[in-house]
């Protein structure tokens, strides 16, 4: 008695028709396309989130750097925007010279922590004109560009030292002279008007378009800075 081979029985019972394969492939295609779509969406979300957080970090750093210098400034010189309604970059600040030496070259140019000797304030006993420092330094904030980046640069005029304050990815073909599409910095007084010499507070507004797919979505940060040295005397 010879037994019937088992595999013959299994083959006959487990075979798939063409229709079954087609259905299976269709389901597989749907599942894979969903996975692909999800993956792409995830990647886009990842990129968008990264761009936005990166932009916010950079915007915050620009505001912080401007705030430190604006508070110390004894004179400000803004550029009036093309529409004549706001102040914008380049901005030149005159600051009392509190250190006798700055780092003059390299990526940390103008960073007093690198090398700096303290200068104490003084009083003119002849004129009795109040407190003063023996010298001042001038600092300019301006737009810059490098490759596909838009940057904000802090430049010390007197020793020609520059360092990059922040950098934004350039998603558009906008020219450097037209920073609006990527990055815009404006300055107004507390009443949101042009700044004049009697104003004691400056509202700094920085606007960026960090999302390459939706440049119309703006990341906007505002900061109000009191010009402390306006009372310097």
């Amino acid at each position: 008695m010879i037994a019937r081979p088992v595999y013959n029985k299994q083959r006959g019972g487990g075979g798939m028709t063409l229709a079954e394969i087609m259905v299976a492939l269709a389901i597989l295609g749907i599942v894979l396309s969903m996975c692909y779509g999800s993956s792409v969406a995830l990647q886009r979300g990842f990129a968008s989130t990264t761009s936005w957080t990166d932009a916010r970090t950079n915007q915050l750093r620009v505001l912080d750097s401007l705030a430190v210098d604006l508070r110390n400034a004894i004179a400000t010189s803004f550029t009036t925007s093309a529409d004549g309604l706001t102040n914008t970059l380049p901005l030149t600040l005159t600051i009392p010279m509190r250190y006798s030496a700055y780092e003059t070259t390299g990526p940390l140019a103008g960073d007093p922590a690198r090398s700096a000797t303290v200068v104490n304030p003084g009083v003119n006993t002849t004129t009795r004109s109040g407190m003063q420092y023996s010298d001042t330094v001038r600092v300019t904030y301006r737009y810059g560009g490098s490759g596909t980046k838009r940057t904000i640069v802090r430049h010390q005029i007197d020793n020609n030292a520059s360092r990059e304050v922040s950098s934004f990815t350039n998603y558009s073909s906008a020219s450097l002279s037209d920073p609006d599409n990527i990055l815009k910095v404006t300055f107004t007084n507390k009443d949101m008007q042009l700044i004049n010499s009697s104003d004691t507070a400056v509202v700094v507004r920085i606007e960026a378009s960090p999302d390459s797919r939706h440049p119309e979505n703006k990341s906007v940060l505002n900061d109000t800075v009191f010009l402390r040295e306006a009372t310097f005397k």
Partner: protein, 524 residues
């Protein structure tokens, strides 16, 4: 056995595929979460950096509050070793704690400021106390050094991520200068009322020959007619900033169309519409400013170790002076038995030189008088009494009650406001105090009476008050002129401190320890 093996193999491959898919997705998701969390921590660190500035500024304000408390308690270190408070190279550091919430360790000890006060003396006669306040604000940081911080962040913020206690630290160096009671022609705590359009308030400088006539604001002929009037800025134009600013801590100021050669400063005063609280301002040459407030420190009764005490004075009397180092001090009445000076019927109080070997000695020209009651020069007699200050004599008068210089009033032959200081001792709460300055002669002197209602009334065709005047409220009428002597600034008493310079030391903590700010003024 083979059948089982084939079946297990098919099951395992599906499971592996699922696991791999889930793992890939999980990796993507976790990468996103880690990245976003790192960015959040970076932003939180930037936030902590901002909070450290608030902490540092809180330390500066605490230092100013400490100085103003010293003023109120009359214990300001105006002299003595430098730096304050001891003759050591480093001033005492005080720590204040602030509440902290949000990212990072919570609790007040995680946010604090350390500040030092350093005393500097500036100038001579009088010496002005300038203080340097160096305050370091520290706030704990969320996250760790594994966070990917941009190099630009490192340059700007210099966060301390190296030690077990990660912190954001910022340092402020602020300079404060004293504000004196004589800084301005008229200051009050309550409303100002200039009740006549003939009133004017201007300034001159008795120390500047080009802005005074032999130290006076004007020159007159023997008949009293005006020859030259220096103070009014429109005749002639001296092209100097208007300095005759009148100020009140209240929102109310009726200017009465008086001419003010300076600003009118109020605390929230309005000039427009039916709700105007600053009214009739058509002749104000400066600006109307509504963000003014300056505390008026109270005046306490003198605590002298020695004084010549007398009963009330109703007859003519002469007070003689001592030296600058040891002024002659007189007290009328006591706390238990209040004494007044009331002059009438031609009676006269004279402040003159002390004597040496029976002769007047010009070096004995400082007199201080404390009147525990009222001081008036008008009474019921046929003629008015008066107060006379001999040329060259400097007088300080403290009055605890009311003061009324009417009738013949006060004659200061120095013709210099700095030679007479009148202080109104602050009365108890609910007690009214009145200081009235009128009289037939021009008044040269300063009045600081933060608890008194001040009334300046011009006599005859002209009532000229040369000096600086401070009261609880002020009422001017008649043909009154306040002529502020700019040379007075820096004399009198310190009323508060004002920030003269403010600076953030942006260097790293390590660098600032190597090259610290010393809080010492240079002299150019």
């Amino acid at each position: 056995m083979k059948i089982r093996s084939t079946s297990q193999s098919r099951t395992a491959s599906a499971l592996v595929a699922v696991i791999i898919t889930i793992a890939v997705l999980a990796l993507l998701a976790s990468s996103l979460v880690v990245n976003v969390n790192n960015r959040r921590m970076t932003l939180s660190q930037a936030s902590a950096w901002q909070e450290a500035l608030a902490a540092a500024e809180a330390g500066v304000h605490q230092g100013i509050a400490q100085l103003e408390q010293g003023l109120a308690q009359n214990s300001l270190p105006l002299a003595g070793p430098s730096p304050f408070p001891s003759a050591t190279a480093t001033s005492t550091t005080t720590r204040v704690y602030l509440d902290h919430a949000g990212e990072g360790p919570s609790g007040p000890s995680n946010s604090y400021a350390d500040y030092t006060l350093t005393y500097n003396s500036y100038g001579a006669n009088p010496v002005k106390p300038y203080y340097c306040i160096i305050s370091t604000g520290t706030v704990g940081l969320p996250g760790g050094k594994f966070l990917s911080m941009d190099s630009a962040d490192a340059v700007l913020r210099k966060l301390n991520l190296r030690t077990a206690t990660r912190t954001a630290t910022r340092m402020i160096e602020a300079w404060v200068k004293p504000v004196y009671t004589t800084q301005g022609p008229l200051k009050t705590d309550q409303p100002i009322n200039l009740n006549n359009h003939n009133i004017f308030v201007d300034s001159f400088n008795s120390a500047d020959p080009s802005r005074s006539v032999n130290g006076a604001p004007d020159a007159r002929d023997s008949n009293g007619h005006l020859l030259t009037n220096i103070g009014q800025f429109d005749a002639p134009n001296f092209n100097v900033p208007l300095s005759a600013n009148i100020a009140t801590n209240s929102p109310f100021a009726n200017i009465g169309d008086a001419t003010v050669y300076g600003d009118v400063l109020t605390n929230g005063g309005a000039t427009d519409g039916n709700g105007a609280t600053v009214t009739d301002i058509s002749n104000v040459k400066g600006q109307i400013i509504n963000d003014y407030y300056e505390p008026l420190e109270p005046i306490y009764a003198p605590q002298w170790s020695f004084a010549t005490v007398s009963n009330s004075v109703n007859n003519s009397k002469t007070y003689t002076g001592g030296t600058a180092a040891s002024p002659a001090r007189y007290q009328v009445g006591t706390i238990a038995s209040i004494g007044n000076i009331r002059l009438s019927g031609g009676k006269q109080v004279t402040f003159g030189f002390g004597t040496t070997s029976g002769s007047p000695d010009p070096s004995k020209n400082y007199i201080e008088l404390y009147v525990t009651g009222d001081f008036t020069t008008r009474g019921g007699g046929n003629t008015d009494g008066s107060v006379v200050i001999v040329n060259g004599v400097n007088v300080k008068i403290y009055v605890a009650g009311d003061l009324n210089f009417s009738g013949n009033g006060l004659i200061n032959y120095n013709n210099k406001a700095s030679s007479l200081e009148i202080y109104g001792i602050s009365p108890p709460d609910g007690t009214t105090q009145t200081f009235t300055l009128a009289g037939n002669s021009d008044f040269y002197g300063t009045v600081y009476a933060p608890g008194a209602d001040l009334k300046l009334a011009g006599g005859g065709s002209s009532g000229e008050f040369v000096g600086s005047f401070t009261g609880k409220s002020a009422f001017l009428n008649g043909t009154t002129q306040i002529r502020y002597d700019e040379a007075l600034d820096g004399t009198g008493r310190i009323s508060s401190f004002k920030i003269a310079a403010w600076f953030e030391d942006v260097r790293s903590l390590k660098a600032s320890k190597t090259q610290p700010f010393t809080g010492q003024l240079q002299q150019f």
